[in-house]
């Protein structure tokens, strides 16, 4: 068994209650931090750990925290991004649903690190039942003195509020989220200014992914250096991967970064191989936004080295022959899958979820879906494929937020690797 940091106790009966969680050492890191460490010490440990954001972009967390304007007397906020809505990604839900106190513990440490006294958990609207679980855990934490005024008798106080979204993928983008939290339409903001300078209600704000912050307690308990020893190179630690598609054992797995893709797909500890003994055709390795790779390129890089589940290895070869770790949504497709129909599903999603603010994304996503619809009906031609590629290229890099890129990449990569399939009328599968 490889090391478990986030899932260590996830199967323990009653771990969602404060009592059981505490008995197993929960909230020890808060005691340690508030009594013996300064906020700067925490930022330092997290920097040493090499922890990178698990929301998709992989930005170093310690560095992000050091950007915030911590001037005393000025409010600042920490927002927990629990909007998880990317097709294929369902790891945060798992963590929140089964081990809610771990998130709260991570949140307390992180708020202390940036000296924030107010934090919001922005949770995807469809996950109301998960929000209830979090709210219960928050109540327990208040009742036991880990939240509220003067936590553990120190002068650090913290309040946490849960706020449900109204089911919009775009409200997971950090500035769309902030707008939504302020009660407005969730249109992403122009950057600069970045939220660390001017965020929620105009105050400095840090936004982190659920999984990112849930890792912090372990780092504080065991030290950043210890964490940095896990994983491979600059991809330190473990990562939750939500695996789905044509595999024998779909589910959420905690892997040590650097595990080979081959082992992840075929070993019984993880996905358990392709269903019904079929052949692997393609994988979308990091949630619907990242480029799709055919079997030969997901198992081995273009240089012939084994492909590993790490930020660096997955992006080896750039977008020509590589992809991205993204948010860890691992979608496996067997030999019978229609790449084009799958692409249509993704593209429909982006068309539906575009906020419509900038013209390339608003018009381009809808246009691509219309063309793909025609292609799937068997009415496409060579020119349509070129046009699709052109539209995707014209969206990419020309939008306010990365949703435009996210809509373009699946199209570009599917055409690059599976162009032949676009003109075959797919069987209904």
């Amino acid at each position: 068994m490889s090391i478990k940091i986030l899932f260590e106790n996830i199967d323990v009966d009653g771990i969602d209650s404060f009592e059981v969680y505490r008995k197993l050492g929960g909230y020890n890191s808060v005691e340690k931090a508030l009594k013996n460490m300064s906020p700067e010490d925490i930022v330092e440990e997290v920097k040493k750990s090499g922890l990178r954001g698990r929301g998709g972009a992989g930005f170093p967390t310690g560095m992000k925290w050091s950007f915030i304007d911590k001037a005393p007397g000025k409010s600042h906020y920490l927002i927990y991004n629990a909007d998880e809505s990317e097709p294929g990604t369902f790891k945060d839900r798992h963590l929140m649903q089964y081990n809610p106190h771990l998130l709260i513990e991570g949140l307390i440490l992180s708020c202390y690190a940036i000296r924030s006294n107010t934090s919001y958990i922005y949770i995807r609207g469809e996950l109301m039942y998960v929000m209830r679980i979090l709210e219960k855990a928050i109540e327990e934490a208040y009742a036991n003195g880990f939240l509220g005024k003067n936590i553990l008798g120190t002068d650090f106080s913290l309040d946490i509020y849960c706020h449900p979204g109204a089911a919009a993928y775009i409200c997971g983008e950090e500035t769309g989220l902030i707008e939504s939290l302020e009660g407005k339409r969730g249109n992403p903001r122009l950057k600069p200014p970045f939220p660390a300078l001017n965020g929620l209600f105009g105050f400095p704000t840090i936004i982190n992914n659920v999984e990112t912050l849930a890792t912090v307690p372990w780092i504080i308990n065991n030290g950043g250096e210890q964490y940095a020893k896990i994983g491979i190179g600059k991809s330190t630690g473990t990562k939750l991967i939500s695996a789905c598609g044509h595999i024998n054992k779909p589910g959420v797995y905690e892997i040590e970064l650097g595990l080979s893709v081959e082992e992840f797909i075929y070993s019984d500890e993880y996905c358990g191989g392709i269903k019904n003994g079929k052949k692997l055709k393609a994988v979308v390795a990091g949630g619907s936004s990242v480029p799709i790779l055919p079997a030969e390129l997901i198992l081995k890089t273009a240089k012939g080295e084994p492909r590993l589940l790490s930020y660096e290895s997955l992006s080896e070869g750039g977008f020509e022959t590589g992809t991205m770790l993204g948010s860890g949504g691992f979608i496996v497709m067997d030999e019978d899958t229609s790449i084009v129909k799958n692409l249509l599903t993704f593209t429909r999603f982006y068309r539906h979820e575009s906020c419509g603010q900038c013209s390339p994304c608003r018009e381009g996503t809808a246009w691509m879906e219309k063309i793909l619809n025609r292609i799937v009906e068997g009415k496409g031609n060579e020119k349509d494929i070129d046009l699709l590629m052109d539209i995707a290229n014209n969206i990419e890099g020309n939008t306010i937020c990365p949703l435009g890129d996210a809509a373009a990449w699946p199209v570009q990569s599917a055409i690059k690797h599976f162009r032949d399939e676009f003109l075959i009328k797919p069987e209904i599968v």
Partner: protein, 312 residues
């Protein structure tokens, strides 16, 4: 002051100035077209992407180029920045693509549109677009609605620049219209048929770059190029009273704010001046207004088309 170079021309501007405004300081052909930015409306810009430019040197301190094209209306200049607009084929190609996006669902009904002749989208398409279409998909359509008794909303023509939304937010007491839905289903609407009714609502007509919001007191009265604009003013208790009256003979067909070469009004005017003062005796006429904007009509593009069969 910082120094920035745009299309090989140097200009000095205040720190914090955007690339677009630096370019406007230089003026002329190198000014990127701006369909959503409006200098009088805080927060506007960034949406249409027609103003994009290429930054080939970030600044003296950090000379790296920016990784992608940027919206010049919302990117501040840095000292030593080098920018390409019309000298970059990449910028021109991409701008062509943006125009294509903006026209994708546009009805192209200029022959029956009141805005024709002073429409930013029409000018943009002539100057930066392609004469061929690559789409065969059905266009998105909406019903026309009256928002209040004086303003017609023709959503099919809207490019979702959000200017009318910012205008209502920033110069009227209460905004009752906004963008409903998302993605390509977005529409400007007054939620559950609200009526836009306040003293300054008419300004949303002036800020609209296209014919989506039109003045119902002027609709179909005349093509704009058959009317003669004059600067005029009156003592108005609500606004500056400084307007342009558009005449046919001695008849005032419409009243608008005074727009500069970028299509922006100098001052917002009230509804009374705009809709209710249509007698010559209401106004003190100053002088004929010179329309500085670079419009299709003033450029005689139509003649070019006759000559070459297409405008290429």
């Amino acid at each position: 002051m910082v120094k920035v170079t745009i299309d090989n021309i140097d200009v000095e501007v205040e720190e914090g100035t955007t690339i677009l405004n630096a370019a406007r300081k230089i003026g002329g052909k190198i000014v990127p077209p701006a369909m959503c930015y409006y200098s009088k409306l805080a927060g506007s810009g960034g949406k249409c992407r027609t103003c994009l430019v290429k930054v080939t040197q970030g600044s003296d301190k950090d000379p790296r180029p920016m990784p992608k094209l940027v919206a010049s209306c919302s990117t501040p200049v840095q000292n030593g920045m080098i920018v390409q607009n019309i000298t970059s084929p990449e910028v021109l190609e991409t701008r062509k693509a943006i125009v294509e996006f903006l026209l994708l669902n546009h009805p192209l009904d200029c022959p029956v549109c009141d805005q024709a002749g002073e429409c930013d989208l029409q000018d943009l398409s002539y100057n930066h677009g392609s004469s061929l279409t690559r789409t065969e998909e059905p266009r998105r359509t909406f019903e026309m609605i009256d928002v209040g008794s004086k303003i017609k909303l023709h959503m099919n023509r809207c490019i979702l620049c959000y200017r009318c939304v910012y205008t209502a937010d920033q110069i009227t007491d209460k905004r009752v219209h906004g963008v409903l839905e998302r993605g390509d289903r977005c529409e400007i609407g007054t939620y559950i048929k609200n009526v836009i009714d306040n003293d300054f609502s008419g300004n949303i007509i002036d800020v609209c770059p296209v014919g989506a919001l039109t003045d119902m007191t002027f609709r179909f009265k005349s093509r704009v190029w058959f009317t003669n604009p004059y600067d005029a003013h009156r003592a108005c208790p609500k606004c500056s009273g400084k307007v342009v009256i558009w005449l046919s003979g001695n008849k005032i067909l419409r009243v608008t704010g005074r727009k500069d070469e970028y299509g922006e009004v100098e001052e917002f005017i009230c509804n009374e001046c705009r809709f209710d003062k249509k007698e010559m005796s209401d106004w003190i006429v100053e002088k004929p207004r010179k329309i500085k904007r670079n419009s299709v009509i003033s450029q005689n593009h139509y003649e070019l088309i006759n000559k070459y069969g297409s405008h290429g």
